[in-house]
């Protein structure tokens, strides 16, 4: 008898798993588990069994019923899943996605952000000063004599009141030293202006990052270490850097530095910026204006640098014309988004 029941269960399971569609599955369900289904009728047959047989057959019957019901549900789930897949089969997933345009930062902003984040990791705080400044901040305090060649209406924009548009961000060196005693460790990103004819590499307004570190025993070695670390962070560890002596009125000794990097096309040495040790005459003038001896040139030394951001962005992003920055063509801006 048990054998008979086991056989019935196996036949049922075979039929269910072979059911080709929902209709055949439903027919099988009715055939086995329906009111007069072949498993259900075993309930009636139980009555005629002996006391000994009843629990054994009853257990088998329950197991068979559960197994068959589970098999039917599993098969039904398979039919539902394939029906859903079939319903979505015609969707063309190669259609364009819903555009969710995010905007973009101007490439100069991106360049500034990259440079600033490196300097901040190196312990520089930000500093700032006005674009419109006085001759004292732009020239006198920076050891630039009244008859210095840079200091004239040919090269510098003046306002009718005698103030000028700063020709370099070095004004912020002075502003920072005027407002706080040493140590000073700042960078000052900002705009500067020169009275240049505008062409592919010259613009009346350009952008610099000025750097100033004044402390005890700051040396050319610190200057070199700072510039080299910054440039390798920006352009890659393989970047070659070289320093050349140069002349600026407000630093002594003064240097220019060149780089050669895989990050920049062409593989040539490129002149990048100027730097140097703060000229003691600058400290002396700051002390005079402060009315104290906070920047004692015997006690403190410092370095300063000025990096041209427009040129750096042009090199790094391979932009051929500085005028593109101010034109703000969306087709240009989108390339850097």
């Amino acid at each position: 008898m048990s054998h008979e029941l086991e056989q019935l269960r196996d036949t049922a399971l075979g039929e269910i798993s072979a059911a080709p569609d929902e209709q055949s599955l439903e027919a099988a369900r009715v055939g086995y588990l329906g009111k007069s289904g072949s498993i259900s009728v075993w309930g009636e047959r139980m009555r005629g069994l002996s006391k000994e047989e009843k629990p054994i057959v009853g257990k088998l019957l329950n197991e068979a019923r559960t197994a068959v019901a589970a098999a039917i549900e599993q098969r039904a789930a398979e039919f539902r899943a394939s029906a859903e897949t079939a319903a979505l089969a015609n969707i063309d997933i190669t259609l364009p996605g819903q555009p969710a345009e995010i905007g973009g930062l101007h490439p100069l902003t991106q360049m500034l952000d990259r440079a600033i984040s490196i300097f901040r990791r190196m312990g520089f705080a930000l500093a700032e000063g006005p674009d419109v400044d006085t001759e004292w901040y732009c020239f006198d305090a920076l050891n630039t004599a009244p008859d210095h060649p840079a200091r004239n209406e040919q090269d510098t924009f003046y306002l009718p009141d005698g103030r000028l548009l700063r020709t370099h961000t070095s004004t912020v060196q002075i502003r920072t030293m005027m407002s706080a005693p040493p140590p000073i460790r700042v960078i000052a990103p900002g705009a500067a202006y020169r009275r240049d004819e505008v062409d592919a590499t010259h613009s009346a307004q350009f952008h610099q990052i000025e750097g100033l570190y004044v402390d005890e025993k700051v040396s050319v070695a610190d200057l070199k270490g700072t510039i080299e670390f910054f440039l390798r962070e920006l352009l890659g560890q393989q970047t070659e850097i070289r320093f050349r002596p140069h002349y600026f009125p407000f630093t002594e000794p003064s240097f220019e530095f060149d780089v050669r990097s895989k990050a920049i096309k062409g593989g040539k040495w490129l002149e990048l910026a100027g730097c140097g040790m703060v000229h003691p005459a600058v400290f002396e003038e700051v002390n005079r204006a402060r009315g104290d001896d906070a920047y004692d040139p015997e006690k403190y030394t410092g370095f300063a640098f000025g990096l041209g951001m427009d040129r750096l962005a042009m090199l790094l992003f391979d932009i051929p014309d500085i005028r593109y920055f101010a034109q703000n063509d969306l087709r240009f801006l989108r390339q850097f988004a």
């Binding site: 555009p99 995010i102 930000l126 270490g225």
Partner: protein, 785 residues
């Protein structure tokens, strides 16, 4: 300054290659900006003399020349140049020549006239950049001689000389520097300068502007073309040959750095009088132009009139010409700042003023005069007078400078031994005095190095020669607290990120604006005193003009959806007060291009702009209606009740003027209050645990009733269970519709919630009914079911 390597080599042994020389100088701070090879293959180029020149029968601009090429028979050449005269010697390229500029010469007919070769310009032979006419050779050039015997191949260095190093503005000076850097010796310029000085013949009435002046008379000179070797050297250095006397003054200037001037002595009236110009004094200079001078300009005069603008340019009347017999040779020291001011005021830069304004070597003045006299004697004949007239006194020797070896090491961050320091300074011509100690030396500075004024200047000399590449980089940092500028930059960075996330692009426009843009600003703009172009005449008072320019550029380039912002400084009139400002501009479609799923297209409007401003999360942000002449629709933007900006739709008249294709929406926000207010920190609030109940209210109200008034009534109801109120539908009524004209329908969803329990429907109904009654009684709203 351009230097011929051939000429430089006459003074000093040079490194084996040009590259090595360029590197040596560049890494010592004398930057070589360019290297140009001159000359090359001169096969089949010979010296020829022009015997005859007639007009070409068929071409106005050509001549037909008969030239003597040394073969005994004349050769016919068609020539387009005009700068020669019959008798001049010029380079002739005969058929078969391949010129350095790539031109291959063959016999040909030009406009029907046979030409058996070509007469060459300097640029065709690559001996200089001069392409204006033929290269006129010296009268001593042998006819028929190979051109290569006159012009050696040469290398021209373009050297950037920084303003602190006027001592390098000569061949001798650069050679002296090269010698110092390579521990070689420089060949001195030997001159016999033993003319006796006399005080007669020169007076100085402007001793500040001219501390020292000398004049040497040379009689019976023969003015004519310079010999080829002299012309070659001048031309290689970029100076055109004029006549032997002028050429010699230029030659000596190039050689030793002292500018000289030669007067025609017979055209001078008595002694030289060095004085300042009288106000408004007029002067006809060598360039043929008349200059008006001020009482600050230094003049060289005779007893009758001015004969030169001191150190800048000689006079037309007293210059050396072919008929000059006697010459007065000026060698002087002028005050650099005075020369610089005059040259700049008159816009008259010259090779002489360039050197004087940087400062010439006072120790070289009389030697240069003697050197020129010697050369004039050799080349133009003539007899220098036994006496030289002088007035004033040469500048005193520069002050001694001391150097502490420890300070040098500390500033450079490397230990340079004191012996090496001494040896470097000695190579540069400094002399250690006995006054020093073992720790600190005292140095006397040569007259040509007036830039060495203090200890740090000497340290720079040390590092130049020692080599900065030998200094190991050091990594040293310092903890720095956040500054106001850090806070402001971070705030701006957050604003930028929010706007970019909304899909806006950042523009950066110039702070300098055009006359036209400046004139559209209601408050005006601060003008520049000395603008360079019409595009940049004033400082922007707002970001609007720049953003509108960007709008138009992009619209003209076909952009259909334009959403931009700019963060930048603006300069408020009248005193150009600087403020950080944020500008926004919206115009065109909401989307760049139609999308396959998109519903109807929509144009950007005021509420797109307002939404972007709201997304900035400015604390206590508000908008209130305002009037503005440039805007058809304007709203003041407020933060905590203070006006911080303006937003609106540009008036159609202005938009049409610009050519805008769609309505233009603009906002400008002053960021200073935001930068100054401390950033409010965010704080956690408990997240709701119990479900909310939503009920809608639809009402018909007069068209003029604003949303904020409805909100005000709801807020004033002060119902603690009302968590939020959201407008979800709005439409205006029309004649005959259910709403009716002059009215509008508003629909709000009210969300009710209690923090501590689930609300029952009845509780909500009680509150909701109270609110409905309030809207009816306070606003006269007609509630819809």
């Amino acid at each position: 300054m351009k230097f011929s390597v051939n000429w430089l080599r006459e003074f000093v042994d040079l490194p084996a290659t040009t590259e090595a020389l360029a590197d040596l100088l560049t890494f010592a701070g004398v930057e070589i900006e360019g290297v140009e090879e001159r000359g090359g293959n001169f096969d089949n180029v010979v010296v020829a003399q022009i015997r005859e020149s007639v007009q070409h029968p068929n071409a106005d601009r050509l001549s037909v020349c008969q030239v003597d090429d040394g073969s005994g028979t004349n050769r016919q050449i068609v020539c387009g140049a005009k700068n020669y005269k019959v008798g001049d010697k010029v380079p002739l390229a005969v058929p078969g020549a391949a010129l350095p500029n790539g031109l291959k010469i063959k016999a040909s007919k030009l406009r029907g006239v046979e030409s058996q070769g070509m007469l060459c310009s300097p640029s065709e032979l690559k001996v200089s950049e001069d392409s204006d006419g033929l290269l006129i050779l010296g009268a001593d050039a042998p006819i028929g001689a190979p051109f290569a015997s006159l012009y050696q191949p040469d290398t021209i260095l373009d050297v950037e000389i920084t303003p602190n190093r006027p001592d390098l503005l000569s061949y001798f000076g650069l050679a002296r520097e090269t010698a110092a850097l390579t521990s070689k010796s420089v060949k001195p310029v030997n001159v016999d300068a033993n003319a006796a000085a006399t005080g007669d013949g020169v007076t100085i009435r402007a001793l500040r502007e001219c501390p020292f002046y000398s004049a040497r008379r040379i009689e019976n000179v023969t003015v004519g073309p310079s010999p080829s070797w002299l012309r070659t050297k001048l031309e290689a250095s970029g100076i055109r040959a004029i006549n032997n006397i002028v050429d010699i003054t230029n030659y000596v200037m190039l050689e030793v750095g002292q500018p000289l001037h030669a007067f025609d002595a017979d055209k001078l009236d008595g002694a030289i009088d060095v004085r300042l110009a009288t106000p408004g004094e007029k002067f006809l200079a060598l360039d043929g132009k008349t200059y008006q001078l001020s009482e600050r300009d230094l003049m060289i005069a005779d007893q009758a009139r001015a004969v030169a603008i001191g150190g800048v340019m000689g006079g037309e009347d007293t210059g050396v010409t072919n008929s000059t017999r006697n010459v007065l040779l000026e060698a002087a020291y002028f005050l650099p700042s005075s020369i610089r001011r005059t040259a700049r005021t008159l816009n008259l830069p010259s090779d002489a003023s360039y050197r004087f304004e940087r400062g010439v070597d006072p120790g070289m003045t009389l030697r240069a005069s003697a050197r020129a006299a010697e050369l004039i004697q050799q080349i133009a004949g003539g007899t220098p007078a036994a006496e030289i007239s002088v007035a004033g006194a040469p500048l005193e020797r520069p002050t001694d400078v001391s150097l502490r070896y420890e300070r040098c090491n500390q500033l450079l961050g490397v230990t340079v031994g004191s012996q090496q320091v001494d040896s470097i300074l000695q190579q540069f011509g400094l002399t250690r005095s006995s006054a020093g100690t073992a720790d600190a030396s005292v140095w006397s500075v040569p007259s040509h190095r007036r830039d060495l004024q203090r200890e740090v200047d000497l340290i720079e000399e040390v590092v130049r020669a020692y080599g900065i590449d030998k200094i190991a980089p050091r990594h040293r940092s310092r903890f720095t607290p956040q500054s106001d500028a850090d806070r402001a930059a971070d705030l701006q960075s957050v604003l930028r990120q929010r706007l970019v996330a909304l899909g806006l692009f950042e523009a950066r426009t110039s702070a300098l604006i055009s006359r036209a843009d400046a004139s559209t600003s209601a408050r005006g703009a601060v003008d520049l005193k000395n603008p360079l172009s019409e595009d940049h005449v004033a400082l922007r008072p707002s970001l609007t003009a720049g953003l509108l320019d960007v709008l138009m550029r992009n619209q003209n380039m076909g952009a259909s959806s334009i959403r931009l912002f700019e963060l930048g400084r603006v300069f408020a009139p009248p005193d150009a007060t600087e403020r950080r400002s944020l500008g926004l501009l919206f115009s065109g479609e909401t989307a760049r291009a139609p999308h396959w799923r998109a519903t109807a297209k929509r144009q950007l409007d005021f509420f797109d702009l307002k939404g972007a401003i709201e997304a900035l999360r400015i604390p206590e942000l508000g908008f209130r209606r305002a009037e503005h002449p440039a805007f058809a629709l304007a709203a003041e933007i407020t933060a905590a009740g203070e006006v911080i900006g303006l937003a609106g739709q540009l008036a159609t008249e202005r938009a049409t003027q610009l050519g805008a294709a769609a309505p233009v929406f603009l906002a400008q926000i002053d960021l200073e209050p935001l930068c100054q207010s401390a950033r409010s920190g965010c704080r956690y609030e408990e997240i709701d645990k119990y479900p909310a109940v939503s009920r809608d209210i639809a009402m018909i109200v007069p068209e003029a009733l604003s949303h904020v008034e409805v909100e005000g009534v709801l807020a004033a109801a002060n119902e603690p269970l009302v968590q939020s109120v959201r407008l979800f539908d709005l439409f205006s009524g029309r004649e005959g519709s259910s709403v009716g004209s002059g009215k509008k329908s508003l629909a709000y969803t009210l969300t009710y919630r209690d923090k501590n329990r689930t609300l029952t429907g009845d509780e909500v109904t009680v509150v909701h009914t109270r609110i409905r009654e309030r809207l009816k009684s306070e606003l006269g709203a007609e509630l819809r079911e």
